[in-house]
């Protein structure tokens, strides 16, 4: 299961238009062992621009943002950075959005309300080749 997990730190990029969120993520993730913060962008267009310069292992992607539709951006990102894995990071808890994200190529979905530990677990799961979901999403999807 962990065969394709990267040996080096997991490189993480984050896309959210709320700077309070991106700053908090930077605080949390940059001080977590095994993770490497590579930066953030306020929208999906900036993510794609950034991807042309540097690819990250995991991209945390918000949904409710101005600019390019984040679901469309997942496929475009994969074309630029073949190994980047997108983990949706949103305050919207809707099953249809989770399904849409998975149909669009996302590796999982984390609710912002679910806390740091859920986020870290999901990041590690995705980096290790599994899907990553936080507890609210798992409950919503019918997992107990």
């Amino acid at each position: 299961m962990m065969s394709d997990a990267p040996a080096k730190p997991i490189r993480i990029f984050c896309v959210d238009d709320n700077t309070l969120v991106t700053e908090a993520l930077r605080l949390q993730l940059s001080r977590t062992a095994g993770l490497q913060w590579t930066g953030c962008a306020p929208d999906a267009d900036s993510l794609l621009d950034q991807a042309k310069r540097e690819c990250s292992d995991i991209v945390l992607l918000d949904i409710d943002m101005p600019g390019k539709n984040p679901f469309d951006a997942i496929n475009e990102l994969t074309e630029i950075c073949g190994h980047s894995r997108v983990l949706m990071y949103s305050g919207l808890l809707r099953r249809d959005l989770v399904d849409r994200a998975l149909d669009s190529g996302a590796w999982g979905y984390v609710a912002k309300t679910d806390g740091e530990q859920d986020l870290l677990q999901a990041i590690r799961a995705v980096a290790g080749g599994s899907m990553g979901f936080s507890r609210s999403i798992r409950t919503m999807m019918g997992e107990n």
Binding site: M1, D4, N18, L20, V21, E23, A24, L25, L27, Q28, R31, D64, R85, G91, L92, L93, R94, R95, D96, D99, L102, D103, G105, W107, K112, T113, G115, E116, G129, S130, M131, T139, M141, G142, E143
Partner: protein, 549 residues
């Protein structure tokens, strides 16, 4: 002219006393008289024939009301022949309840007045009634004295029938307009209500979302500060604990607000519309508590083993929130008999005896409702409270939500004994792990790492023990999922051949769940996740790993 003619006519309208046209032809004056008389006789005969052929009933009577003439039309309208009625009193054709009309008519005639187009009812020989329009004129003799009357009676039954039908149509139309107007007003009210609710839902969800967005950084910063000050003092630890508790409370409140959102895309038939009650309670409780003051207790009894309810979480929250609010208002209005009284609002759920429904109750120990209030309380804008405090929509909203979920709302309330609102909603159909079946093995031999992860995840949800290794296919595996070129079908075919219970799913180039054989299914590479899920569910059910409840 007609009157005098009739006065002398026979029963069938023929002259009763015709003058002879034979006379002394040698006497010129006599001849002239005779000629004039013959002419008059001809005229009478002509007119009599007109009268006779009239469709209208033409009848004459004397001032005592005795019938003196009766034409063919009268025979047709009333059913009596002339021989039967001449000499009889005119009341023979007047119904008993209209006998008073005759003296009034005679009175007018004696004064020389006419009665024009008097619409009334007369009775036929067979007893049936006929609507007629009467025109009655006095008949005078040559001295100008009134000696009788002529009546022209027109059968207006057909006209009356049409009038009656028109009236019925008009009344029906008015009823329709009234009913449609009421429906329109009700729809208008519902729209206004749903607009308000939608606005409240959107506002609440937005607020919940935004608070959630702030909570996340707040938690992050608190953790950083807390870690940097770790172990510095017991006091600080307590402060941090208090801050964490407050943030947690705010977070749960935000989650509850989010549960108020009305999602226009929601379809109650979809799995979106399913609520696990104990999980729902965890999120909704803080919000529900805000509807109650600290004087009142919010109690719950929602067993963990209840099946999910076929109602979306946000809809259930709205309904319960309204009921709790309602209970709180009822309790607030109570004059407490003793200071020991504790207001209680209790939320409970149990499964119906046929196990098809869930009975979700919100009860209180408040003042209860009178029969009249109970009968009207679910009507929109019905309220016993002052406008401004209540929208009058609360219970109507609950009723609407429960109806949308194909459920019913029962109200049990007795003045002095509290109220219990019971929402009876269907149990959601669901797949459950078959308790008689041990976990069975599935192998996901798919090259795309994300698709492999996704399929493994979905299969784990269906109680499979998933192996992603393609190096060795375990003999006891019951499901193989592979992708790639069509030739890989051979591997799948060999697998299902080796194990009689085994099935295979091929993510291939063909499309949409086409069964290649009874135990091999192929789906296209770009098929939507929900379609793949459905195929996997079908396989899981067919192998007994899962069962539909």
């Amino acid at each position: 002219m007609l009157m005098s003619l009739l006065d002398k006519s026979s029963a069938a309208g023929a002259p009763a006393h015709s003058s002879s046209v034979c006379g002394d032809a040698g006497q010129s004056s006599g001849f002239q008289e005779s000629a004039s008389s013959a002419h008059a006789e001809l005229m009478r005969a002509h007119l009599a024939s007109i009268v006779d052929s009239s469709d209208d009933a033409i009848v004459s009577k004397d001032l005592s009301g005795t019938i003196t003439s009766w034409n063919k039309g009268a025979e047709r309208v009333f059913g009596y022949s002339a021989a039967e009625v001449i000499g009889k009193h005119i009341t023979i054709v007047i119904p008993y309840d209209r006998l008073e009309e005759e003296p009034a008519i005679l009175e007018k005639l004696k004064k020389g007045e006419r009665v024009d187009h008097f619409e009334t009812i007369r009775r036929r020989k067979d007893g049936s009634l006929v609507n007629i329009s009467l025109t009655i004129s006095p008949v005078k003799n040559s001295q100008g004295e009134i000696i009788g009357a002529s009546k022209i009676a027109r059968d207006i039954s057909e006209r009356k029938r049409i009038e009656r039908e028109l009236n019925e149509y008009r009344e029906h139309l008015e009823q329709l307009v009234e009913a449609r107007s009421a429906e329109l007003a009700a729809t208008h009210n519902r729209l206004r209500s749903s607009e308000r609710l939608s606005a409240i839902g959107t506002l609440s969800a937005g607020l919940g979302h935004d608070i959630g967005n702030v909570m996340m950084p707040l938690n992050a910063h608190i953790s950083v500060v807390e870690n940097s000050l770790a172990g510095s003092s017991e006091d600080l630890r307590e402060h941090f604990q208090a801050i964490h508790q407050s943030v947690e409370y705010l977070q749960s409140l935000a989650n509850g607000l989010r549960l108020l959102a009305i999602d226009p895309d929601d379809d109650l038939r979809e799995v979106n519309g399913v609520t696990n009650l104990s999980a729902w309670w965890g999120e909704a409780e803080p919000l529900l508590r805000t509807a109650l003051t600290k004087r009142f207790r919010l109690e719950h009894d929602l067993p963990d083993d209840l099946p999910p309810a076929a109602i979306p979480p946000h809809a259930l929250t709205q309904a319960v929130f309204n009921l709790v609010q309602n209970a709180a208002q009822a309790l607030s209005g109570m004059k407490f008999e003793s200071s020991d009284f504790i207001g209680r609002v209790r939320i409970a759920a149990r499964q119906s005896s046929d196990r098809k429904s869930l009975l979700i109750t919100v009860s209180d120990n408040g003042p209860g409702m009178t029969a009249e209030v109970k009968a009207h309380c679910v009507e929109p804008f019905f309220t016993t409270k002052t406008r401004g405090i209540s929208t009058g929509l609360g219970l109507a909203v609950v009723h609407g939500i429960v109806q949308n979920a194909n459920g019913t709302l029962d109200i049990d309330s007795v003045p002095g004994n509290g109220s219990t609102f019971t929402m009876i909603v269907p149990v959601a159909k669901r797949l459950e792990v078959n308790p008689d079946e041990a976990k069975r093995k599935a192998i996901v031999d798919v090259s795309d790492p994300r698709l492999r992860a996704l399929l493994s995840h979905e299969l784990a949800l269906l109680n499979y023990e998933v192996s992603a290794s393609s190096s060795r296919i375990a003999d006891d595996a019951v499901l193989l999922v592979i992708d790639g070129a069509p030739e890989r079908r051979a591997a799948a075919a060999e697998f299902v051949q080796r194990n009689q219970d085994a099935q295979a799913l091929i993510i291939g180039t063909a499309c949409n769940g086409q069964p290649l054989s009874s135990r091999m299914v192929e789906v296209g590479p770009n098929v939507k996740l929900e379609a793949v899920r459905q195929v996997l569910r079908n396989i899981a059910c067919s192998t007994g790993t899962m069962q539909q409840r």
